[in-house]
């Protein structure tokens, strides 16, 4: 049976979502532990999330 490509795209999006979720969660914990480092943590979080997001978008255009 042939699996439609949209299923693969969905899998990638699930993976990217889990990844960004983990980044967000870890950043939350880190901020709770060290509120004074909030700005630095947020920056690092956004960069890491943006890099994963790029892969997530690749799924949209993959064919």
């Amino acid at each position: 049976m042939e699996i439609p490509e949209i299923v693969g795209a969905g899998l990638i999006v699930i993976g990217a979502g889990l990844g960004i979720g983990r980044i967000g969660g870890s950043a939350m914990e880190a901020i709770a532990r060290q509120p004074e480092a909030t700005a630095k943590i947020q920056t690092a979080m956004l960069i890491a999330a943006a890099l994963i997001e790029g892969i997530g978008f690749a799924a949209l255009f993959a064919k």
Partner: protein, 418 residues
């Protein structure tokens, strides 16, 4: 690339239109099914039209103004896009004829024929003869071995009776014996080099000029005193934010000044363009891959041009790893060189495009369901997502500038530990 999203979108639209049958509405299921299908097609076309670049600026349904078309085809040819009549008629410049087909300009003969897909040269002259006689519809050409069928169609719907002398655009495509045309064929006519002021170019020019005066005005205030005035009050904190939070931490105190002009330009250009995309004018500049490609290319070129000895050393002959690994690392680093700007390009393009597609398909769902019960929910969803898009507009500008600064920083970084 665009069409792929639309095919996926159409799948989801089809799913939703299937579920819409459950919602109590019309009793006649058959006609309702057909209705939602045609609405789905209409929504798809509207979204496609909204996202793609065009030769005229549409303000609302039926209200639009033409923009200049500039072609280079043995000399510069210039005319207004209104001469195309939305792709229905030919534009003539000094004996050269141009036709508009799906937002692209093609060169045609005087008869205005666009050949869709590959069509036999021997058949072309025969078809041209028939067209001269005023032929429309299915054309059958018999040769010794086989029979070919062609469909000759006039681009105009035929019910505008003024200006009869205007030459029409005619499309010729292959078809089967039932008159079914092969879909998705593109004209094989020559394409002249296109330097037109399209909708996107027009918006970039408008934005560039208004940004010039905005920032010039903000800068002028500092000549007389230290307090910003007018727009400067709004811009100063943002400029300082870019300097203190983006440029200095990533590039370093020593070198950041050289890059400030580019970082500020990129930040405000992307941000303002993203915001312009949130207006209902159908502006989609940052969601156009050619524009994000250009931005990423400039970042790439500046990074490479400002790379110092250590930067190239770390790419080509990584210090601190075993010698056997060094060539492998060099290959990976060289690939990374191109992946970085590539990801910049895709991230901005995909984010903006996806945002627009999602917003408009949710608005489209209101018309697919056509029910008072669910419309308020979609309206609320659109509102919330629009607010999210406002955040994304600023966030993407920030991330693009941030990563650009990061790449510049890696290029100029000094290594004291050697």
């Amino acid at each position: 690339m665009h069409y792929n999203i639309f095919s996926k979108l159409s799948v989801s639209l089809a799913l939703f239109s299937a579920t819409s049958l459950i919602v109590p509405a019309n009793a006649q299921e058959q006609s309702h099914q057909e209705d939602s299908d045609s609405i789905g097609v209409y929504i798809k076309e509207t979204i496609e039209h909204h996202l793609s670049d065009s030769y005229d600026f549409t303000i609302t349904e039926g209200v639009s103004f033409p923009l200049p078309v500039i072609l280079y085809d043995e000399g510069i040819k210039m005319f207004m896009s209104s001469e195309f009549h939305h792709g229905e008629s030919l534009a003539e410049v000094n004996g050269n004829f141009y036709a508009l087909y799906h937002s692209k300009v093609y060169k045609t003969e005087a008869n205005g024929v666009l050949w869709l897909g590959s069509i036999d040269d021997n058949h072309r002259s025969e078809i041209s003869e028939k067209i001269k006689e005023g032929f429309t519809g299915k054309l059958t050409i018999r040769s010794e071995e086989d029979v070919s069928y062609y469909m000759v169609q006039h681009a105009s719907s035929g019910h505008h009776d003024s200006e009869e002398d205007q030459s029409e655009v005619i499309t010729v495509s292959k078809c089967d014996e039932n008159g079914q045309i092969n879909e998705g064929e593109y004209p094989t006519n020559a394409k002249p080099l296109d330097f037109s002021i399209t909708k996107n170019v027009f918006m970039i020019l408008v934005m560039a000029i208004s940004m010039f005066f905005l920032f010039k005005g903000a800068a002028r205030a500092y000549k007389t005193g230290q307090t910003p005035r007018k727009a400067g009050r709004f811009l100063e904190p943002l400029i300082i934010y870019v300097r203190d939070e983006i440029a200095i931490p990533n590039i370093g105190k020593q070198h950041y000044k050289r890059y400030m002009s580019y970082l500020l330009t990129v930040f405000f250009f992307i941000w303002f363009m993203n915001l312009a995309g949130m207006t209902p004018l159908g502006i989609n500049v940052t969601g156009n891959i050619t524009i994000t490609f250009s931005l990423a290319l400039i970042t790439f070129l500046i990074t490479q041009a400002s790379g110092n000895k250590h930067y190239w050393m770390h790419i080509l002959w990584m210090p601190g790893v075993p010698v056997i690994l060094k060539p492998v690392m060099a290959i990976i680093e060289l690939i990374g060189l191109f992946v970085k700007p590539f990801s910049l390009m895709i991230r901005l393009y995909a984010n903006m495009l996806a945002g627009h597609v999602v917003l408009m398909s949710i608005i489209g769902l209101i018309f697919v369901f056509g029910s008072w019960l669910v419309s308020p929910a979609f309206f609320g969803l659109t509102l919330v997502l629009s607010l999210l898009e406002l955040l994304v507009a600023a966030l993407q500008a920030y991330i693009f500038t941030m990563l650009t600064a990061l790449y510049f920083g890696s290029a100029v970084e000094e290594h004291d530990h050697h």
